[in-house]
Structure formats: structure tokens, C-alpha cells
Amino acid sequence: MKTKKQISLFAGILLLHYLFLTLIQNNLYPIHFDPKKLFFSDLIGKSLYVPQWLFYILEAGNLILLWIISKKIFNKYSLITPFVYSVSPWSSYLVIAGSFYIYLLFFILVGFYGLLLLKYKNFLGALLISVAILGVGYSSLTLLLLIPAVLLITVFKIISFKDLKIFFVIITFLLFPLFFLIQTHSVAFRNILDNETKIFSDPGLLNMVNNYQGAAQQEGLGKLAKISENKYLFTVENILLKYTKQLVPSNYFTPQEKLLNFSFTPPILFGFLIPFVYGLYHLIKLPQRKVLFLSSLLVIPSVLSRNMVDLNRLIIFAPVVIIVISYGLIELIKNKKKKIHNIFLILTLILIILQSLVVISDIQLREKARFTKYYEFEQNYEVGKQ
């Protein structure tokens, strides 16, 4: 009976999400990203894309996965996580634009669920992790490069090597064809690598170094400039800046970084900042903070992009933010008898309702005009490369 109720509530959440998606679609479609080839197909010179319709299905999959993950973590409050995700405009915008990272998010959630299962159902957990790694590895070079780092840190910090040894064998075996392809198509591999990691080929950075060193040289301080204003240091500084920038709350709760480069809709409604801060404050004190720190690796694809913050690539980090918000919300609900918690809850609710109304009205009234103003043409409807 309880499960039935939960399922029907979840169906409501799903419906709510798709209603929101439809609203955006009606107002903005056919805005779209330049479709991205799957990594392995790009490697062999073929053009294999994820079709647009699949994003809509995968989005439902993402919601379902968030629900079952949430069940494992939060038990009876499990519906809060998919609810927060469903009322956040972030993924909806990316789905209608055909974001490749919605597809990758699906595999990441599968992998995360596998990780949660690993302790109890070793085989199923290992299987799901293997599926996830194969999914992301064959589809995206950036995430393929991230896999060893994630695995190493997981083994050192979270789960013992013993728990993972089955799937290490499976993974190595299944990824072997991919490594073979990389070996035999090294030129294509290099091109893809250059395209995916724009941060290392930033002409602005080199220009700045030359200008700075030239100016210092004229003042007789060239040696000092060579020590402290060289391209290596500035690259490290740039990476550090970008990495830190990904973790700033204003990216997620305000339109500081524009969705699809033009929107004024925030990725996540601002009201959720209160439970986010509350949740983070409490999570940092728990041993689970290790997982939280590990998950910050998911911002790396955004760090490597040309933009300072790439909300499209950053969607794979969204579940982490959503889970922290859910944790904060649950803690607030549990402690709602305390006056201050109650005030926070009510404030959160008021802000969410108010901003939902504002966002819906604004999407209908101005979003298309904003797109036109930003891109200055309407014919192509493309919002950039991924």
C-alpha cells in the first residue's frame, strides 16, 4: 500500500517534470545544441549521435534512478530528491536542446547506484558500475579519462580493493577494444582530445603571459615576470580558478551563468539554497563527506571547457547538489518543531512557489526574445557546440 502511494506520488512528480519540459519546449523549441558524436564513432570517423527522442526517455530514467538512489540514502523521504530535480529547470532546458550530458548523466547515476549496491549485492553493483563505465567510456573521452581517477580515489577512500576486484577484471576486458581503437586511430584521438580540453589551448592566456612579460621586461623586471608570470603558473592558476568557480552556489541557484548561454532561468530554484547550505553544513561533519569530496571530480568536464562555467557539462554534477539539498530539506523537516527550522522551511517554500511563478511567466513572456537578442538570428536555433 505504502509502495503504491509512493509510486503514484512519483508518477505525479514525473508528470510535473514533463509538464515543465513541455512548457519550455512550446516556448523555445527548436533551439538545440550542435549534436555530439559518440567518442568511439568519432574515433573511427563515423557519425553516431544520440537521437533527440532518446533524451526524453533518458530524462525519465534519470528521475527514476534518482528516486531509487534516494531510497537507498534517505529511506522514507526518498521522493524529495526526484521532486527537487523535477522542479529545477536545469535539466529541462538541456533535454529540449538535446544535451549529450543528459545522456552521460544517466550512466553516471547507474554507476552511482551500482556503487551503493556494492556493499550488499556485490555482483549487481559491479555489473551496474561496469555498464556505467562502458557507457561513459565509449561515449565521452573526458569521462573516460576521469574513470581511473574516480576508481583510484574510490578504492583508497571509500571501498576496499577486495570489493571491486570482480569488476576490475570485467572493465579491463570490455574497455580493451576501445584502447585498441585509440591506439590505431591516434591522430583522431588527438583531435578529439584537443576539442574536449579547450582550457589548455587558451590563446588569451598565452597572450596575457606575453604582454605581462614584455611589459615587465621594459621596466627591467623581466626576470621576476619569468618566475611568477609564466604560462605554467597561469595555467595552474586558471585551472584552480575554474575548479573553484564550479563550486560557487551562485552558478546553481541564480542565473549567474546563463542556461544555454541566454536564459535568465536559474538552474535550480533559489529557495533551495537554504536547505542546500543547511545540508552542506551538516554533511561536512559526517564521514560521508568523503563521497561528497570525491563527487566534486564530476565538475572536471566543465573545468576543461572553453567557458568559465559550462552548465551543460556541469549537469553531471547536478545530482550531488540535488542530494545535498534533499538532505538539508529532510533535516529541516525532521527538526521542524524547532522555531528556526520551521522558519527556514516556510521561507524555502515561499521562495520556491514565488520563483516558480516568476520563472513560468518569464519563460512565456521573454525567453524566446532573449534567445533572439543574444544570438541575433532565428534561423538556425543552435546554441553552440558541446
Binding site: 588569451g204 596575457m208 604582454n211 605581462y212 611589459a215 615587465a216 621596466e219 623586471l221 621576476l224 615576470a225 618566475i227 611568477s228 608570470e229 603558473l233 597561469f234 592558476e237 584552480l240 580558478l241 573553484t244 568557480k245 560557487v248 552556489p249 551562485s250 541557484f253 541564480t254 542565473p255 549567474q256 535568465f264 536559474p266 533559489f270 553544513y281 561536512i284 568559465m308 514565488l354 520563483q355 511563478l357 516568476v358 511567466s361 518569464d362 513572456l365 521573454r366 526574445a369 532573449r370 537578442k373
Partner: protein, 542 residues
Amino acid sequence: MRKHFVLITLILITLLGGFLRFYKNTENPPSLNGDEISFAYTAYSILNTGRDEYGKFLPITFQAVGDYKNPIPGYIMAISIKLFGLNDFAVRFQNFFIGTLIIPSFFLFLFKIFKEKRLALVGSFFLAISSWHIFYSRMEYEYIIASFFVLLGIWFFMKMFDGGRKWTFLSAFFLILTMYTAPAPRLFVPVFIVTSLIFNFRKFKTHRNKIIIFVSTCVILGLPLVYATLFQGAGTRLTMVLISNDVEFQRYILLNSHSFFDFPMLIFFWIKRYLSYLDPNFLFINGLNMTVPGTFGLGVLYLFELPFLLLGIIEFIKRKIPYKSIFVIWLLTGIFPDSITNNQIHAGRLLHIAPIIILITALGAIRFCKWIVSLSKVYQRFIVAFGFSFVAVLVFIHAFLTFAVHFPRAKGESFDEGLKQAALYIRDHQESYNEIVFDPRRGIEGPYLVSNPYLYVLFYTKYDPKTYQTETKIHSKDSTYYFKFNKYTFRQIDWTVDQDKKGVLFIGSPWSFPKDLKEGEILEKIYLSNGYPAFYIVSPKW
């Protein structure tokens, strides 16, 4: 020696801070900027005649160039000009002096509140070397003075509950004085006081008398400012810079089409602005806006202070700190005034929260050092300490180069570089000419209008304020810029007509003259620090 260790260290820290604020401060920033020159001539005028350049007797706000400046910096500068004469040093002296004085004051503040010498020393050291504080202390900038008064005001506000009534008066006095010093505290102070009273209601209930005295003193001292704001144009600046007039909000967010939800949209836009103060780029990379946008300059904190800031926040949350809620309110309400303006986020307008940010950084630094000491192996301690020191040295070298090389090159024009040399040329050669025409357009990329060259002429020629107040001045009646007094005319040069004028000295940017000026017509070329020509001084050849 050991007994006086803290005192000696504090003196050394203060001397270091003073040196960093004083060394070549008349040469870097490369020129007195528009605000400095405006304050300077008003102060000179008040010193000599008791009236500003518009003839108003001891005004509560300075009309200046129509931006209604706050009076305290001007009055303090009058003392400085009296002591050192009318020159660049006198103009910048007050900020160097107060910027240095705040270092031992901050030490005392931390020591009295936290009762910890180590924290007080580390905090004052960070303040002494703070690029944020150094930058604004090297020029006349009213927020440095305001930040000093805010520190004293809030310190006495905290002491008010433990001490006698004198602290109540002193707190009210300094907090209200801040409102006469810079625009942002006019909002910050009332918001801070009201928020503190609300969130500390229980504590304040037991000090009802003191609160009544405090509020009454604030109201009485603040009344002239309220009057000036309502009836003397001091509110003009506030209405000009409100966030609702923000270009991005009007043109991009609202798209000039209006709906029922415009006000909530404004609130969410403000929230976006408020949270952008956490931007690492602002905090660590280019918050001081000393270099070209998009390049690596200096932020309000050094990059090596990033771990200190993070650890400091954690330490601040975890640790039992006296008056913690007031510190938090100080920080959060301190951002408020700047966040509701339509300008870019501005580090200078946040200087009144510098003490709290530096306090957090100091807490983090001490935590960080404790962590290094707690490392079990000596070599680990050595590697971390050496590695971190090495990074800090690299950051300091970059900071030095930014101050010494990149900043003057990038921002010379926005500091009105070249106007001083032009005005000095006028001073030395004006006797040979019947008229001096100054074209107020300048710019490297393209010409734009600056309306203040006349102030540079007034300042560097030490023009008699009484004469200036009383003599006839002619302004244009249409939208073109025209201003004339005595033999000085500030207008656009039209060389096709002006080249035939005899006995006239022309000063203008390269945009004012044709490229094929006759040989010998250019008497002098004035250059910016980056090598671009700023002004030509020309006399037509017949």
C-alpha cells in the same frame, strides 16, 4: 625583549603596512583621478574661504561635479593641505595615514574581543599586507576612512553592553560619522543597526537605556544628513545608481517589456548580484580591477589565502566567538549597499567589511599552521611549509609586478593620466597666451568626454578659490560641452577653424587634431604609462 615581543612585532607590522601604503604613492597610482582632484580643490577652497567652489559655506555635502560627495574626506583633506600645501602628497596623505593607523587599531580590536595576541598579530599582519587595503590606501578614497570609522563604531557597539555609556555615544558617533564619509555606509549603517537589534533582541532588552541613548544619538547626529539627502541633492547619487536602473536588468532581463512579476524579477536579479560576491574571480583574481578585464590581476585576497579563507569559515562556524552574530550581520549587511547598485561589483565599496574577511582569513591561517605542526613526520612538515611559502612568494612577486608594472599601464587613462602634465604646462606657459583651449575629449580606442580637466587646471595652477567662486563662468546652453572662466576655455577643438587663431594654446588628445599638423606646431606630447599619447599641446603656426 621577550616581554615586548608583541609590541615590537606590532610596530614592525605597522611600519611594513605604512611603507607599502606610502612608498611612491604620488607616482603610483599614476595620477590623481577625477574624484581626488575634485575633493582636493573643494578642500583647498574651504580651507581658504570656508566655502566650496560653488560658494556654499561649510556644506554638508559637496556638490563637486554634480555627484554630491560626502563631506568628511574633504574636511580632513583640508587639514592635510594646510599641513603640506596644495600638492599630490597632501591629497593622498590622509588615506596613507588612516590606512596605516587602522593596522594597530585592528590589532587592538582583535585583541580586546578575542583576548588572543597571536590572532590579533596575524590579523593585523594580513591587513598590513592586504593588496585590497594597500591599493585603496595609496590614493584618496573615502572608503578607507569609512572602514576605519566602521571598525571603531562596531567595536564600541560591542563594548556598549559591557562598558559605560561613553561607548554608547562613541559607537553612535563613529557609525554616523561613517555615513558622512562615503555613500555605501549611508545604507550599511542603518541596515546593520536594525538587523543587529532584531537578531540580538534578548540581549538588548536588558540594556534598554543604552539602546535608547544609542538610537537617539544616531538620530540626532544623522538628521543633517537626512536633510541634505532630501533637500540638498545628496540623494541624487543614490537614485542614480539603484539596481533597478541596471542596464543588464532593463535591457537584457526585462527586455523593456513589463509584467506583473517585474518586482520579484528584480529581487532575484539582486540575489544573483549579491551571491556574485563569492565569485573566486572577484575574490582572488581580478577583484581590484587593476588590470585589463579577463587578465590575471589581484583580487581582494591573495590566491594563497584561498585555503585560509576556507579553513577560516569552518573555524568561524565551529569556534565559540564573542559577538558572533554581530560579525555575521556585519559581513552580510556590509555587502548589501554595493549589491543594490547598478554598477559592477566594486571591491572599494566593500572596504568596510575588510576587517571581518581578514579576521576569517587569520583564523584559517592559524588553523592551517596548527595542521602543519600536527603532521607526524618532520619532512612532511618541511615539504608543506616550504611548498606553501614558495607559492606565497610567487604570488607576492606577481602582486608587486601588478602594482608596479601592469596597473599603471592598464589603468593610466582611467586615472586621468596626462591631465596633470597638461595643467602644469599651462601653469608654466600661460603668460604667453591670451587664451587656453582645452578639449575635454580623450581616449585610446576612441574619443569620450571627460568633464573635469578644469579641476586639474584649478588645482595645479593653485587658482585662487575666492576668485573662482565669484568670477563669471560661462556654460554651454545646449548639449555640447562648453565651459569658460578667466582665460581658460574647455570645449571641443575644431581645427579647421581654430588653426587660424593667434595667441591661443590648444590642448587636446590626438583625436582633436589632424594628423598632418605643421612642423613645430606641437609644443609637447604627453604620454600615458603604456606609451600611448594622451595629449598634444599645440600652438598654431602662421
